[in-house]
Structures are given as C-alpha cells and as structure tokens.
Symmetry: D3
Subunit: 134 residues, 6 copies
C-alpha cells in the first residue's frame, strides 16, 4: 500500500477535482487511477506531472502508441511494477498486439544485454558514432 | 580503452571473418565497429550476439526505426555511452529527425520521473491495470 | 519470503544477541527488524553492517532526518521496497511531515528525469561545473 | 559531445531567449549551461523542464541545499556525470562544505549497499514498516 | 500475474513443445518454469533465449555454480525478484551453501556501495588500472 | 577529476597514513590508488570502507578471484567505470584469463537480458523457486 494516503474524489479540494476531471475527460474513463490519487497529496506535483504527461504523451512526431511502448521499455529497466502494468495496459488500449509487446520486449532484453557488455568491457565509441552520428 | 584487445579483420580467424563479413554486408558498411571487435575475443559470444541482434532488430511487427529508438531509450536509462551514441546514429540513418529524437527523450525523461515516483511512494497497481490490462 | 532463514532472538548465539541488544537499545524498540534477522546468517556481515549504519546515520554535519530522506531517495531509484518502507517509516519517526515526503519525492522524480536527459543526450559537463565546481 | 546541437543565445528564437533570460536571472549567472542549450532543440521540453526545476528546487518545506544534496544522491546512483558535477557545484554554491559532501556520500554508499542486500535476499517488509509506517 | 498469457505444454505447438522437452531434459525436471511459458508467446524469442542460456550457463572456463552466483549478483542489482529467486534456487541445487550465499551477498553489497562512491565522487581511473590492467 | 581533492601520502595525517600503509602492505603495492585518496577526505569513511573491503574480499567460502569477478559483474550493471577497470585489473592479477573475463561478461549480459524480460513481462515466481528454493 502506498506510503502516503490517496485522496479520493469526494473528499478532494476543488483544485484537485478539476485536475481529476481533466484526467478522466482526456482518458475517457470514469475513474482516476491510484498514481494521481497519491500525487494529490501535493497538488502542485499532481498538476505539474499531469500537465507534463498530457503534453509529452500526445501525438507529435511520434505517435501515442510508440510513446507508450517506449514508456514500457523504460519501466522494465527500472523495475517499476506500477508503470509496467499501467503503460502495458495503455499501449494495449491504443492498439498494441501481443506480437508487438513480445517484439518490444525482445528489443529491451537485447539492449539490456549489450548495454552490460559495452559498459562492462569499456568499449570505446567509434569515431563514426560520436555525437550520435550527427 | 576496452578492457580486452580488439581483434582486427586482418588478424582474425576464418570463423570471425565470416561474421565480420556478414555484419558489413547486412549493414552495408565497410568497417566493423568496436563492439564486435571486442566480442570477437570469444567467437561464440560474437556469433551468438550478432545473430540475436540481426534477428531482433530487423523488421517485424515493429519497424526497424522504432526498434532503434527503443534501444536508445533503454541505453539512456543504463547510462551506456557506447550504446547511446551508436544507436542514436543508427536511428538517424534509418530516418529519425532531430524532432523525433527530442520527443523520444522527452518520453524517456517522463517515464524515468514517474518510475521514481511510483516506486518511491509504493503505489498499488489499480485493478484495471493488473496483468497489463489483458 | 527471504531466501535465507531469519534467526530469531531466542535461538541466536550470544554474539548475535549482543548485536540485537545494541540495535534495540539504540533504536529504543523492543523488536529487531527482519533485515538484521536475515543478515544474522553471517554474523560478521550483521556486525559490520550494523556498526556501519549506526555510525553513518547518526548526527554529524548532516542531521539524522536529512540522512533518512537521502536514504529514501536512493532506495526509490533502486526499487528497493524493503528500504523504501523502512526508511520512510524511520524518517517519519524523526519528524518528516507528509509535505516533506512529497517534496522529497518531487526532487527525486525531477533528478531521475534530468539524469535520463543528460545521459541520453550525452551532454558535456560545462567548464564551470567540472570537479563539482571546486 | 552531445548527440544534438546546442543552441547558443545569439541564434536562439525569442521564445528560447526569454527562457534563457529567466534561467540567468534566477541563478544570477551570465551564462546558460549546456543542459538547457541542448534541451532548446525542443522549446517545449526546455520550457517545461525549466519551469519544473525552478518550482521543485526552490525553498519549501525542504531548504534548497537539502534538495541539491538529494539531487546529487540520485545522480550518483544513476551514474549521471553531468548531473553529479553540476549539482555538486550547485550544492557548494549554496553552502555545502567538504564534510557535508563526504557525509552525504557515506549515506548514499550505505543505502546502495543495503538496497542490494534487501533486494538480493528478498527480505519481507516488517509489519511495523508497511506503508512507510503511516 | 504476467502481462501476457503463459502457454502450457498441452496446448503448445510442436515447435514450442520440442523446446520445452529440451528444457526439461537438460534440467532433469518434469515441469517447465513460468519464464519459458511466458516467452513462448513468441517462439523465436523462446528458442533464441533458451539456446543462449543453455550455451552460456554450461561449464566452460567458469564452472556452472560460479555462473549461477554471478547471475544472482546481477539480478540483485536489477531488483529482479523472479531471477533472484530462480537463480538462488539453481545455485543451491548446484551446491551453494548458506555460507556461500551470504558471502556472495556481502560482496554484492560492498560493490554496490563502492560503485556509488566512485561514481558519486567522480574518481579518476588510476593509470595502473586503465584498460582493466591489460 | 574527482569532486573532492585527493589527499596524498606526504600531506596525510598519521591516522590516514596508517590506513594507507595497511592498504599497501595488504595489496603488496607501493602506491595507494585514487579511490582511497578521495575517501581520505573523511577519515572515518576511509577506515570503515577499507576494513570492510579487506574483510569481505579475502578468502572465505568463496575464493578471492570469484569475488573479484562478482565485483566486476556488479560494476558493469552500475556503469561504474572506475570499479570496472580497477576490479578487472585485480581479477587479472589474481589469475583471471581473457577467456574467463569474456565468459563472465557473457553471463552478465545474459542475466541483464533475462532480468529485463522477467521484470518487463511481470512473470510470477514459480512455487518451486519461492524463497530461493530453500
């Protein structure tokens, strides 16, 4: 159970409620998930994090599904059970198939493997790759 | 400099050369990058890792560019300078624009932030998200 | 459940008991927590770790509450559920308010975000910051 | 060198310049550091991250120096050279002595050690610590 | 519960069954553990990962028990509960005593501590240690 | 360069010198490496860490070479360049061959890969593996 108390809609302040309303409207759901109810202990953090997520995760040069899959990848490396489950669910709702999830995880596993090899053997960056090849 | 010696093409065994040849042919380059020249100290590991990378990173249900961007995301979290640079370069060569790279990093930064919040506050997974929403 | 058996007070050796006694006296509690009962499988590790914790976490140039909050921060990044819970509890017992905990987590989330950005984009350290500005 | 080009003040757009101006005014410096010049490739990310940092790192229930030290702690665990150097410098400019830095690092090292032990031995959270003792 | 469905032996394809058979024969067990039943959603990943594990973990210049202990060490740092438990069990079945497990964890804890110190204080590699002393 | 100044032997206090002497005698070298010269800024931390390292890394149920290799494994996952180089050098001086190093890294890479898969797919621990099979 979370280390701070969650703030439910019916006992929330007007400031918090208006963010909860925006979350539910944006996501077209009728409930606010635990992550936000925990952050609500500090309304500034709730507001700021929600605005950030809304802006970063919406369509841009990358589509929303790709972004959700990147989110799952990062969360897998960080062993964040909450985020793995919630963003796998979000990716599914945006069209990720079982095959896509398994292919994503194959890439994550491969990257984690070669990251350990390149760091562990202290391999020098090739000239051609310096500055990410720009 | 790497903690083991790199094996250059002209001193490599036939077994290693044939893998180097496949790497250059597949990637349409004329050089083998340091990563493989370091792994070549153990031909089994070279062969196995290359076959894995070739199979995992090729087109499937996810396109090769998306896979390269996921690779960059994982490498950023693991602080692997070699992999960040080489896969940013690879993603660029497959069409990643500056805008896409920055948008990718915005997602990675956001995920890393909320991972710390969800773990640090021990937030419970909502019922709706359990099992990744399947 | 832990991968090694915990050693309870009544079956512990005299060597272990004297450390358990010191833990309870120092912390003014009447129980020894699981962490120490697991380490007790190797009395040297128990003794050494406890002496270390006692010395490092006591008041010095930083006060004990600040140290507990730093502990929570590190544990959040490492996804250590045991340590997050136990040190959040310890920080609370030393005076951390709900507001302080949320503010701490806001900093941890922010740092985790910018760490990913700075590593992922391979940003060079400014001259003014080299050697941590000394 | 960073994987995207830095945007210097004299070639920056008005939107970016106004953020640069705010950074320099807030920090009472005459230069903008590399981190922001890299993020400027995506003005939204620059603006959003700066506003976040400014709000999170200012005085609240925790003082700015404590926040900088927490930042250094998180950055040490994430092996972020840029952030370690820049926030150690920031902490120094806010009054951190050599003794405080070493004491901070002693706590970080201790936490990293016991995190590995608690996770590696799968130690159960004591009832008294559940929910961070609330 | 896993985010993808496990594939049980009796509903598995012939391709998957032959890998399951090899796993059980190699490990001299009569069941296939969850890890493989999850990977089976993507037969290529199952096959490839299993062949890799079988080849890497068998006796070579390092004995199988040492390899299992290294596996536990890595898994502890990555907070992978599944891997910590399964490889601690595997190490035990290959002869790891309680004393060896505790000694292993003492090294892991120590390494995690000094890693944080060396990174956090940005200590330069001594000339004698460059390239891992080769 | 390190974020705190190193303390050289000839300007060190007697307390620090006696630890430096013990380090050189134990390791049969004529120099003290940077790690200790940085920790010396806080003599307590120097003394405590050295005593810990000396005790944990000496022969016990695991031999010193195995311990050094575990150290390299942990350091690779944590991206600690200092520790990777210094402990690879130490392992070499204790008899690690090139083949052993590559085999070690193959295990580390494999473990890092399956850790990401098991966490990322939220795989349940099999009953047979619970509590590490004890």
């Amino acid at each position: 159970m979370s280390t701070v108390q969650m703030i439910e809609y019916d006992v929330a302040s007007d400031e918090i409620r208006s963010i909860y309303d925006d979350i539910m409207a944006t996501r077209q759901t009728e409930t606010v998930n635990n992550f936000w109810k925990v952050l609500a202990s500090r309304p500034d953090l709730l507001k700021d994090t929600w605005n950030d997520v809304k802006s970063v995760m919406s369509a841009g040069e990358l589509d929303p599904l790709t972004k959700e899959m990147v989110y799952v990848a990062v969360s897998a490396v960080n062993a964040c059970d909450y985020c793995i489950n919630s963003h796998t669910a979000a990716a599914r709702s945006k069209g990720m198939s079982e095959g896509m999830l398994m292919e994503l995880m194959a890439v994550v596993g491969m990257a984690n493997r070669t990251n350990a090899l390149a760091n562990g053997l202290q391999i020098d960056v090739d000239n051609a790759f310096r500055n990410g090849g720009r």
